[in-house]
Symmetry: C2
Subunit: 406 residues, 2 copies
């Protein structure tokens, strides 16, 4: 019998009404003859409310106790959703992470799933029941309750899908699927029917935000098809899998963008002497995430390195540079704020070397200055002024005819 | 090292402020050189709120799912209290019921504790930490989460105290301790320093309400001293244990009372023929709790039996009698509502046969008619009109000089 995992995030179970809507979607799948395992997040703002309660009591509580606290959120959703399914006439049973056999390492608040023992869930499925499982949580070998950190519930869903050998892992969201770019910004944005794991990974990492990269990677490693589906409409969503049927002319499949980027440039007055690695080691030690790195060494000029970070890490990064100035051996540093990153993504790029040139040309025609460039096999990113971000996205969406993609 | 269990009920952890107050009390005990395990209920109205949420989704949800839902309540309290203790500088770790090794049978919503494996809790205690354990819940041998039903958290506390060989199980409440009668009704009510398990059992069953009878019985069976202590004052509370130092003149140690009693009388026109048992079997099958039973068979008179029940069971009882009239073979039934039960309790009664007579006399002088009487070795109960209940309690409190008890 075909098995499927359905995952509902916090907004899709935010209140009684939405829980009942989710129950209806689940019952439909059961009536389609599928065995259904469901993975749920905490209702709406529950996690935030619990965190703020904890913050009042102990601003620096241990991760272990925060995990004990937060995991109650999904347990509430799971039991209520099981009740809602039962109220609609199907059998259902809720499971905590540990009851569902989700075993993790011991890193509280950011645990990794090590193994899922699907036996208990399979028992329920084989008996004709729906298994409703708490996402975001697991248990370590010592019996300690853990949470999975950001993207945890998506990751739980994929892990369960792999364990029970589901045919797909369906992530229900409040959007219609994955778009060529954000439809709130570009009206002509098209919903994609299919996209590859790698393309989705680039879009997810670039702030498209529908799915967490961690879950996509996990699905990719196990070739588990993911489906992003709307929770509130009848749309078919977007399927994410390895090989997609691509028309040859559809080289670029999406435009991603992200604000709040800062460029930092460090200049040396002596030739590059190997201390470059030191800069990034020092930043990494303070957990500053560096994105794009551009290094230029031209004869006769001062060597310099530029890199981009998020606004939120700016103060920390400057302090790292300041404190380590002598050790790092640079002459001076400068920075530019008010920047954004815009990227085009598509598996087809790898065999189409002209794509980056098309991109730069389109931006030049639109009068948008490029501050930094970074490329990968399926992506080209540029850093530009934030004030011109939307304009750039529109120009690129048009340049690559993304409004025609289906 | 001396070990103690401290139990905090829902009102004692109802908000952030009270959780911090509880943490302070716990730290005091740690500073007194004790190893402390704590058992907590859900915060204030949490359980009621969760139940009403469930009721909206499925008015008749399974007990299993309700257990999954409700057990989150204590887990939230336990983690927050552990954080509060840590914030005040002591080590603390929260435990769910299953993590604390509380194993129950499989009767969801009304499970019995079968065993407590205190190893994990002892580990934390021996390492100098406070173990904060969720009350009211456990796990069955199948890994299903269960709740213990009414009085569950008190029972959890006693079970943990027995498992870790604590010197006492201290139940923190919003009252100063156990009183000779309800101080809200009788101003002269005295707080008792000590009381025996059996006396406390009678008082608890009679509606004194400080401690659940189930927890008292459990403590009595294992000779675990219980202490009812105030959570918000420095009072020493009341200790409940087997042998108490009793002054010989203190025969009666408390007056308990309870409203909403109904008397039902069944009359037969033929001599008693064994069908009496049938009446109570029929009532028990419909879960009607019968309290006092008085049977009179006097020569030349019609045999009859009277019994008292709670108001809430009245309609069900009358319907049982109606439906089974032929089978039960009685002639007619009548009833009296608006009654109350008033009881005097004291271990000393067993050797003082005049106590009941004193009681009746005091009530006669006060002009209070007695409708039914029931006696046990340490208790005499009378059923009287509710309108005269407070008057009766005052008269009996005075008759037995309970205002002088300490």
């Amino acid at each position: 019998m075909e098995r499927v995992v359905m995952k509902f995030g916090g907004t899709s179970v935010a209140n009684e009404e939405r829980i009942e809507k989710a129950a209806s979607l689940i019952i439909e799948e059961v009536q389609n003859g599928k065995q259904v395992a469901v993975v749920v997040s905490a209702m709406g703002k529950t996690t935030d409310n619990l965190l703020s309660l904890a913050g009042e009591i102990h601003p620096d509580a241990t991760e272990r106790e925060l995990d004990m606290l937060l995991t109650t959120g999904e347990q509430v959703t799971a039991s209520l959703l099981a009740m809602a399914i039962t109220a609609k006439g199907a059998a259902a049973k809720s499971f905590t992470g540990w009851q569902a056999g989700i075993q993790t390492d011991s890193l509280h608040s950011n645990a990794r799933i090590e193994n899922v023992d699907g036996n208990k869930v399979n028992e329920t499925l084989n008996a004709g029941g729906v298994a409703v499982i708490t996402g975001f949580q697991g248990i370590d070998t010592e019996g300690e309750i853990t949470t999975l950190g950001r993207g945890g519930s998506d990751t739980s869903a994929v892990a369960v899908a792999i364990a029970i050998e589901a045919s797909s892992c369906d992530i229900y969201t409040d959007v219609e699927g994955v778009y060529t770019t954000d439809p709130r910004v570009i009206e002509e944005a098209s919903k994609l029917t299919e996209i590859s794991y790698d393309e989705m990974l680039e879009l997810a990492n670039l702030g498209a935000g529908v799915l967490h990269p961690r879950a996509i990677e996990f699905a990719k490693n196990h070739q588990m098809p993911l489906r992003v589906k709307p929770a509130h409409t009848a749309g078919q969503g977007t399927i994410i899998k390895e090989e997609i049927e691509m028309e040859t002319n559809l080289i670029v499949r999406g435009v991603a963008f992200e604000e709040d980027i800062v460029r930092i440039t460090i200049m040396y007055d002596t030739p590059y002497n190997g201390s470059l690695a030191n800069v990034f080691t020092a930043l990494a030690e303070e957990h500053v995430n560096v994105d794009i790195i551009v290094q230029t060494i031209m004869e006769g000029e001062q060597p310099s390195v530029s890199f981009s970070i998020k606004n939120e890490d700016f103060a920390k990064a400057m302090s790292v540079l300041e404190v380590n100035k002598e050790h790092l051996g640079y002459k001076r540093a400068d920075f530019e704020v008010g920047l954004a990153k815009v990227s085009i993504v598509g598996s087809g790029m790898v065999s189409n070397p002209g794509v980056a040139a098309n991109m730069f040309d389109a931006l030049r025609i639109a009068g948008i200055p490029i501050k930094m460039v970074s490329t990968s096999e399926i992506k080209v990113s540029v850093v530009i002024p934030t004030t011109q971000m939307n304009e750039a996205v529109a120009a690129l969406h048009k340049e690559f005819a993304l409004e025609q993609i289906r």
